[in-house]
Amino acid sequence: MPDSAFAPETAASNASLRAFLHGLPGVDEVGARARAADLSTRSIKTTAKARAIDLAIRMVDLTTLEGADTPGKVRALSAKAVHPDPADPSVPRVAAVCVYSDLVGVAVEALAGSGVKVASVATAFPAGRAPLSAKLTDTRRAVADGAAEIDMVIDRGAFLAGDYRKVHDEIIAVKEACGDAHLKVILETGELATYDNVRRASWLAIHAGADFIKTSTGKVAPAATLPVTLIMLEAVRDHHAATGRRVGVKPAGGIRTTKDAVRNLVLVNEVAGPAWLDPDLFRLGASSLLNDLLMQRTRLTTGTYPGPDYYTLD
């Protein structure tokens, strides 16, 4: 990757940003899909599968992002995050609970002392269509209420219109509003249309200071596909090679089964490398995935197939 990746002048103007982003190597869609498909044939069995399941649980950002969310729903989800399987204390806790910004306080209270972080979506999630001032207010409020992680959305309209500078500056502003909170930047890859754009948006977000780049809001299809995650993992890998800084990746939306989760971990392992097999650098944004991980875990430890009625619906 060009060493100029982090030269300050890269972001000096929209033209210089464009020159940088359009100078990145292209992505051949068919080749990227083929690579992801090939890696998804990896067969993860027995001990490897057991480790993968526990790792995946520790990487889950347990998420509820509905208009109908209530404090009760958030409390229930938080309880699940700390003890995913009440009957089995050996199950690790998840990484974080992800909620709308107005419910951060509820989650913070419910998770106090648990080690499970509170993540909040912000910046006019999911569309991102609001004035910057509103996005910053949203962010500051969530952080003030105790959110340790902010999941912001980029302005896809500005990106698609070629106004990279606007997207970039907004991320910088939100990052500043985050203070110590970690910033995950949602690219909403389903709206970016091409893998070239996914790569450019990844670099743009990384350049602007993202701690994580995240695929999707979960409100747009397609959400986290394997090729998209592959391309984002290549971006953080290349960025690390150029600068030594590791940026995290979070696929979100559509990851429902243990098989999906394991395929993601295989991608992480073989594309970015084992250093990324860590909840600090890889997360899975999901809700129903957790129960499937628990069922597969039981299957592995007991040898019998479990039924869904034995796992809590939260």
Partner: protein, 478 residues
Amino acid sequence: MDQIFEYAPAPESRSVVSLRDTYEPFIDGAFTPAATGEYLTTANPADEEPLARVAVSGAADVDRAVAAARRAFDTVWGPMPGRERGKYLFRIARILQERSRELAVLESLDNGKPIKETRDVDLPLVAAHFFYYAGWADKLEHAGFGPRPRPLGVAAQIIPWNFPLLMLAWKIAPALATGNTVVLKPAETTPLTALVFAEICQEADLPPGVVNILPGAGETGRALVAHPGTDKVAFTGSTEVGREIARAVAGTDRRVSLELGGKGANIVYDDAALDQAVEGIVSGIFFNQGHVCCAGSRLLVQESIAEELLPRLRARIERLRLGDPLDKNTDIGAINSAAQLDRIRDLARSGADEGAEGWSPACELPERGYWFPPTVFTGVTQAHRIAREEIFGPVLSVLTFRTPEEAVAKANNTPYGLSAGVWTEKGSRMLWTAERLRAGVVWSNTFNKFDPASPFGGYKESGYGREGGRHGLEAYLG
């Protein structure tokens, strides 16, 4: 961190395969003992364990097989309406699909190639090839070879060990679809799937004599090529043997098609989609342990991006998993034979002796069996043996170029002309390059892709004739 996700062994079960102790030639619809009374032992190259004893067919067996094929051609297969021939081929295609896992495992055992490839590449293509040509059987008058194209008669077919069953399909499917009967000799080290294919012919009720399978070694092949009762010789294998065959049929009215060696160039321009180019380079040379005639064994990378590309390539190669061919996570399997391993070692040694710099990832080779690590030579020039001779193993030679003209000139600077690759995001440059490459198959922004509908075959000393597609019919029609 590594052990957090060290993949556990994921072996495919061998139990789908039931090996017999001994295999005999398949002649006139039945397995009958070879007149020679001689046997070879075919072994698993991954652990050198014997798999089965296989008869060595001799001249008398060739006589019998050719006579059976002639009889079948004259009395049954030649006169049969195309639509009925086609239905036999469809039936065979279906049985191949039904028994594909068994055949995939058997192929991996006998050849040493990873189950991932036999399962996901070889076997699907084998069935697809029969399906494709099945549909041609009753449409030959529309194929562009005149209003009444005729079969040639009896086809002598000799196939290599690198894609045993797939090469069988490439030979037998078009021959049968066009109304020819065949006598096929599988490779000495990989006869087993061909003999199971003979069982499939029985299962499909294919008339006796239409397909005859003669296991054996070089002498068997020579006897078959020399047999005056055949009308056609189709061969896939080394250029050396190809020359012998071309000499042997000179002056006869027998037709020949040859699919021979290669030294494919994989050209990476500075604007390539780098991550996909790396994948293409890897599959170009390490697919099937590099036992591929169309392998991209010469990487021609534009000098301006060589420094960026090569570390990515090495990092990617470090991820390749070498080992048990039956493990579903194995990317690189065993070298097919001790003889082939010797040849690879010899050429790799010459690379180092001639001053090229060799590199292989840290990778533990199993103690038993025939193994060679993925290897990349940099600092290679056109004069090096490893840039000119076909290695037929997992050894990549890296050369650089400065301009498109230089890339094309270097790519074409070989007596071979089978395959080439081009990596660029610029459409006009791709077409410009593809137009100038003297190679029968050009993969742009991809590599080592095969399809029954796509003609395959070489320029220059890579042979003549095409296999696959409408073009593939021509080799069997008069």
